[in-house]
């Protein structure tokens, strides 16, 4: 076989680009269209006018902004502290700290909210500590969303802090700058783009989250919850589309700025930089360590509470152990099948998404396809990260539900769930693939061409095996996110195909919060198991072949 010459690689990439346009661009277009379409089929701003004049909206808009700002203000310093502890100190048990800080990634965003209710809610164990305060509303939302967003910010800030150039610190020390001065003049300025990127991602994640508002929102309405209420509660798709667009605009703006900041951060790392190794400093380690321990304890307490509530008869009155809440089939909206369904969906999403993202990235980075097409595809692939799951999910529902659409046949099937998940998490998978592929010698393809071996041979024998570690990372990322996401699938799942994360929402909604906590924790254990399996696979890969550097998984995108 000969290598795909210009046309066939180009054709393949064209198919990828068209597929992205169809499964990403078109649903978004449909969403925008429906928000603007009048009953008679014409264009109108009536829906926007109606929504903007409704008394509830201004409150939701302000609430959403206030919530986002609070969470950013809380999470950015907390995440910086943890990232600093992991990258710039000699703290013991860093592995444990990193695992705890990452744990909220592995559960649906509702779970921290659920645990807060168990701790501080009406029947909360620690409710007396609040005095006259209540957890429902803004305080609970801020805390729950902070816990959910923290790991994303930690990932970004660790990357920013790990790129330090030891030479700068050595030079500063020779010039007599104190530790404090070095922190303010080198460390902080050095990761300012990372700080901006982290803040923006946290903001985008928070305003797009529907899980926590549903559980502890009380009367504190936010945009994401408005969409959910309009669509699920009132079947008002036009109005849902209007709110989804209102949510999409700030999210997209935040993510676009974030990409800009992230690329500036990456560009600020010099290729000649000398790796920084923190030297002993007990004072520093003590201060940072206390902060890290407090944050880690809070996360651990939240997780432990959720688990404990799931195995006692009646929190907090009857703390005798029972397995009764695991009998999911007794509860509306639950069922053990939700877990198996979710695992299956996550597995398929992981495999399909990894293959598509990697092959697409390969064609766009290293094939002989036309330059213009490559750019179009690369831009398209960045889009999904900027779109909240609720907006994408609603767009999917509107676009594929149309019987006139030839793709209508996937509506109401598992297929649409796979497609929505793959698209929703595509950007991170794509960017991880791209950074992996960029690390491989660009002369591989010319060398294979001169030697007369096809692109497929090279891809199968060299490119894919060398990229195996990155492929495992991508598959893990997709699996974990597909297990935990609510927003992108909540409008799409067929009635007979329940999903675990959605079941957590629905069981809690029905008042069965103990089984909801039980299922939320099961999702955590499934994800931990997946991470262990993935970790073993990575270790085997590392042993089998010559060490190839795995690029850091690119920033966790918007994934609520």
């Amino acid at each position: 076989m000969t290598l795909p010459k210009g046309p066939s690689a180009g054709l393949l990439l064209l198919i990828f680009a068209v597929a992205l346009a169809l499964f990403f661009g078109a649903p978004l277009g449909e969403l925008a269209w429906r928000s603007l379409s009048a009953a008679d089929g014409g264009l109108t701003l009536a829906h926007y006018a109606e929504y903007l004049t409704s008394p509830g909206l201004q409150r939701s808009l302000v609430n959403t902004a206030v919530l986002g700002a609070w969470v950013v203000a809380l999470v950015t310093p907390a995440a910086f502290l943890i990232a600093y502890g992991l990258e710039r100190t000699r703290l013991p048990l860093k592995g444990m700290l990193a695992s705890l800080a990452a744990a909220p990634l592995l559960v649906p965003s509702l779970l921290p909210a659920l645990a807060l209710v168990y701790l501080f809610g009406r029947q909360g164990l620690l409710k007396p500590m609040l005095g006259g305060w209540t957890i429902y509303g803004a305080p609970g939302l801020v805390i729950a969303d902070s816990i959910a967003a923290l790991p994303h910010a930690v990932v970004i800030l660790r990357t920013a802090l790990s790129g330090a150039d030891a030479r700068l610190y050595e030079q500063a020390k020779l010039l007599g700058a104190s530790g404090w001065k070095r922190f303010w003049t080198i460390t902080l300025p050095g990761c300012r783009h990372g700080l901006v990127a982290a803040a923006l991602v946290v903001f985008a994640l928070t305003i797009a989250d529907v899980g926590a508002p549903k559980v502890v929102g009380g009367g504190f309405d936010v945009l994401a919850l408005d969409i959910y209420k309009q669509v699920i509660g009132q079947q008002n798709f036009e109005m849902g589309a209007v709110v989804a667009i209102m949510l999409l605009l700030p999210t997209a703006a935040a993510i676009l700025f974030e990409r800009h900041a992230a690329s500036r951060q990456a560009a600020s790392v010099s290729a000649q930089a000398k790796a920084y190794h923190p030297e002993p400093d007990r004072g520093r380690d003590l201060v940072v360590g206390i902060g890290c321990v407090l944050i880690a304890l809070a996360i651990a307490a939240v997780m432990a509470t959720a688990q404990l509530a799931a195995v006692v008869r009646q929190w907090p009155y009857d703390l005798s152990l029972t397995g009764i809440h695991y009998d999911f089939d007794r509860y509306d909206g639950g069922g053990w099948s939700a877990i198996t369904n979710s695992v299956m969906l996550a597995l398929v999403t992981a495999v399909v998404g990894t293959v598509l993202a990697f092959v697409g990235a390969y064609l766009a980075e290293r094939s002989q396809a036309g330059r213009g097409l490559k750019r179009v595809y690369s831009v398209l692939a960045l889009g999904p990260a900027a779109v909240p799951g609720l907006a994408l999910g609603l767009g999917f529902a509107l676009f594929f539900n149309d019987p006139a659409n030839p793709l209508h046949l996937i509506y109401g099937t598992v297929g649409i769930l796979i497609a929505a998940n793959v698209v929703h998490f595509f950007t991170v998978a794509h960017l991880t693939s791209v950074s992996m592929l960029k690390s491989l010698d660009p002369a591989f393809e010319p060398a294979a061409r001169v030697l007369g071996r096809g692109g497929l041979t090279l891809f199968g024998r060299v490119i894919a095996p060398l990229s195996a570690p990155a492929l495992v990372e991508i598959a893990l990322y997709l699996f974990v996110n597909a297990m935990t996401t609510v927003s992108v699938v909540v409008f799409l799942y067929p009635p007979e195909f329940k999903l675990a994360a959605v079941a957590v929402l629905n069981m809690d909604d029905a008042g069965d919060s103990a089984p909801a906590a039980a299922m939320g924790m099961l999702i955590l254990y499934v994800n931990i198991a997946a991470r262990i399996v993935g970790g073993l696979a990575l270790r085997r890969l590392a042993r089998r072949s010559t060490p190839v550097e795995t690029p850091d998984t690119v920033l966790a995108g918007v994934a609520p």
């Binding site: 000969t2 591989f444 010319p446 061409r449 001169v450 030697l451 007369g452 060398l466 010559t546």
Partner: protein, 357 residues
């Protein structure tokens, strides 16, 4: 017309608005070793990629033994290529790398024999099961060579094959490369920015600048009779002294000093650049008429010789570099001492002063 191994006819390559290769005409005789040499960005690597078929030319044709191969797939041109990075596949063994380009239909036993033969040829017979990362830079380069030669190409293309190596290793591998090429008699085209490498290896050197060929010729011709000041200065150390054409076989330097040179065909008063290589400048003896004298302003010891820089005339006068044998009495001249030098007229070359860009 005897068919050359390779013939480039008016070859051009345009990237957007820049002309990377501009009307290249080159004849590569069968069995010869040709070096494309020039500063970075001169288009030499693009030219090599055009020959390999990795880029398609905007204009012109490539002929191999009289047959037009301009539009052929890289693998159907009968050539092997060694890349600057070697592009060895790190997850495959040395043996698998070498056999990568062998036809899929070839029986396994035959493939193994071919791999063994090539690894033997490059002196790495014992390394078939190793991975590239376990090998030294020089060994990796030889694996890349074996892989390029495995399918039995008629032409070997080398893209800066020695530049990734340590200097002392480079000299050794340079000799090995030359010996291997001579033994196989394979037509070879090498791209390099290192003029010493080109001088040592090539039968023919093609000097490029700005996408164009400046001069093609034997190493001796390029060094001894460069076509212009650029070639002269690129191919070796060179003194370049602005001057004007004077009378009676003399040119006048900026400081008024006169030196003898062949001025035939040049108008009196024309601006020229008088050039001479440092190794051609001599310390003046008593019998030398028209010797110049200058003050030593820098001195670099280089083993067998010493390079002196002397300033002719006063502050701001032209500076001349010369190589003095280390055993010469004046080799020990210290800073500030005055040295008399002679510039043999047959070693002085005059080039038209290039208009400034």
């Amino acid at each position: 017309m005897s068919a050359s191994a390779l013939e480039l006819r008016g070859l051009s390559k345009r990237f957007g608005r820049t002309l990377a290769v501009d009307g290249l005409n080159l004849d590569v005789p069968t069995g010869s070793f040709v070096c494309l040499v020039g500063p970075s960005g001169c288009g030499k690597t693009t030219a090599l990629r055009l020959i390999a078929g990795l880029e398609s030319p905007s204009e012109g044709a490539i002929l191999s033994e009289g047959v037009d191969i301009t539009r052929r797939h890289p693998a159907e041109r009968g050539l092997g290529m060694v890349f600057q990075s070697y592009a060895l596949f790190p997850n495959l063994t040395v043996g698998a790398n070498v056999s990568f380009g062998l036809p899929g239909a070839m029986p396994t036993a035959q493939k193994q024999a071919r791999v063994a033969e090539l690894l033997e040829l490059v002196g790495l017979a014992a390394f078939a099961q190793r991975r590239p990362a376990d090998l030294s830079g020089g060994q990796q380069q030889r694996v890349a060579l074996a892989r390029a030669l495995a399918p039995g190409p008629r032409i070997l293309l080398l893209d800066e094959p020695l530049s990734a190596l340590d200097p002392h290793l480079r000299d050794q591998l340079r000799a090995e490369l030359k010996a291997l090429q001579a033994r196989l008699g394979i037509t070879t085209i090498m791209v390099t920015h290192d003029q010493a490498e080109a001088l040592a290896l090539a039968d023919q050197i093609a000097v490029m600048r700005g996408g164009r060929l400046e001069q093609v010729g034997s190493p001796e011709a390029i060094y001894g009779a460069p076509a212009n000041a650029f070639v002269a200065s690129f191919i070796g150390p060179l003194n370049q002294l602005p001057a004007t054409v004077g009378e009676a076989g003399q040119v006048v330097l900026a400081n008024g000093a006169r030196i003898a040179a062949d001025i035939s065909g040049l108008a009196k008063g024309a601006a020229v650049i008088a050039t001479i290589r440092p190794d051609a400048v001599r310390i003046a003896g008593a019998s030398d008429a028209g010797a110049l004298s200058g003050q030593v302003i820098a001195r670099e010891f280089a083993g067998a010789s010493v390079r002196l820089s002397i300033r002719l005339g006063d502050e701001g006068g032209p500076v001349l570099r010369l190589d003095v044998g280390a055993d010469h009495p004046r080799a020990s001249a210290g800073l500030g001492e005055v040295v008399d030098v002679a510039l043999p007229a047959d070693q002085v070359r005059l080039f038209a002063a290039e208009p400034r860009a």
